[in-house]
């Protein structure tokens, strides 16, 4: 005898539940957390390296590094002055349980900001909530100006867009207007920071945004 059982359950529900627990934990500790996503080589780790020395004047920083293999990125974050933990994700994205594991390893009582560096990928990370407060996408000029059109889900799902490697604009064919038009159609009014981790141009505005977001979070009773 066969019986049809109605289920109607969201498949990512288990992840979403852990993400909510992560968020509650961060809020309780008054920690501002952000999820950095990008394709490989866009400059996630470089942006962290650039930002940490400026942010560490005011905040105690932790970094959760998702990496397919090696602890190179975590080492770079540690060298730049953050408490860092490495999660060898062996996956195409971080999920909420992995971030929970990272939070377990960090000394949350003594942190103000946690930066989660996701696995380099423009598809999978968009499907998995982590519990962080802000999602940040780092695009980079050499990737090409068509990326918003090709990865709409990723571009729609973020609150902040960093455009890295603007120092290369004179050398590659990247139509900033076309790029921004694609971004605007997907995510109107998204906060955007064009910058160069190499030259340092634009870094200050980005760091100021992180600092403001963190102050707002920490100040909340």
């Amino acid at each position: 005898m066969s019986e049809r059982i109605t289920v109607v359950e969201k498949i990512t529900q288990a992840n979403d539940q852990v993400a909510e627990l992560n968020r509650a934990r961060l809020d309780e500790q008054r920690i501002f957390a952000m999820n950095l996503m990008a394709s490989p080589g866009a400059g996630k780790t470089s942006l962290i390296e650039r930002s940490l020395p400026l942010l560490s004047k005011e905040f105690r920083l932790g970094v959760i590094e998702g990496d397919m293999a090696t602890s190179l990125d975590a080492d770079r974050a540690a060298a730049a002055g953050a408490e860092s933990v490495q999660i060898n994700a062996a996956s195409c994205h971080l999920d909420a349980p992995m971030v929970k594991q990272g939070l377990d390893e960090l000394d949350l009582d003594n942190l103000d900001v946690v930066i989660v560096e996701n696995v380099g990928n423009l598809i999978c990370p968009a499907s998995f909530a982590l519990g962080t407060h802000k999602s940040v996408l780092i695009a980079s000029v050499p990737e090409g100006d068509d990326k918003p059109y090709k990865y709409p889900k990723m571009y729609r799902g973020v609150e902040v867009l960093v455009i890295n490697k603007i120092d290369l604009l004179p050398h590659v064919s990247f139509d900033m207007d076309y790029f921004r038009q694609g971004v605007e159609a997907l995510n109107e009014g998204v906060i955007t920071f064009p910058l160069s981790c190499k030259s340092g141009e634009g870094i200050e505005a980005w760091v100021e945004w992180v600092a403001d977001s963190a102050r707002e979070r920490i100040g909340q009773a």
């Binding site: 019986e3 289920v7 498949i11 288990a14």
Partner: protein
């Protein structure tokens, strides 16, 4: 590649519901996969064949119901299905778009075959 954890979740949810309904062999699994959810059927099937082995769901058939992308223009109120993956209203050209459908990823139902020779008919625990 994110299909592996997704498939694991499918298995977990299916086994849990079968268990709650009194156990038995799961024969069919009905999934709703929106066109926007970036989930590849073949990839789910590939992982399914491996991870369902030696579970009550081994050999269950996966059914994929694909839901189209539905966008709503917040400027003129038109609902439309984009031909290409552009978020621009086909009626007024507006760019204030809300995703109204197509990002679903859900396990809708399962078929469970009860073990035969149930001495005390336990009735229908689930409608």
């Amino acid at each position: 590649m994110h299909e592996l954890p997704i498939t694991q979740n499918v298995l977990e949810i299916a086994l849990r519901h079968a268990e709650e309904a009194g156990g038995g062999k799961i024969t069919n699994i009905y999934l709703v996969v929106g066109r926007l959810s970036a989930v590849v059927d073949k990839s789910v099937q590939f992982y399914w064949d491996i991870i369902s082995e030696d579970t009550p769901a081994q050999g269950a058939r996966l059914h994929f119901r694909h839901t189209p992308i539905q966008l709503e223009c917040l400027d003129c109120g038109t609902f439309f299905e984009p031909e290409e993956m552009t978020y621009i209203c086909t009626a007024c050209g507006g760019i204030h778009i809300r995703v109204a459908g197509g990002d679903e990823l859900c396990l809708e139902a399962i078929d469970v075959e009860q073990e035969e020779a149930a001495p005390a008919e336990s009735g229908s625990k689930h409608p």
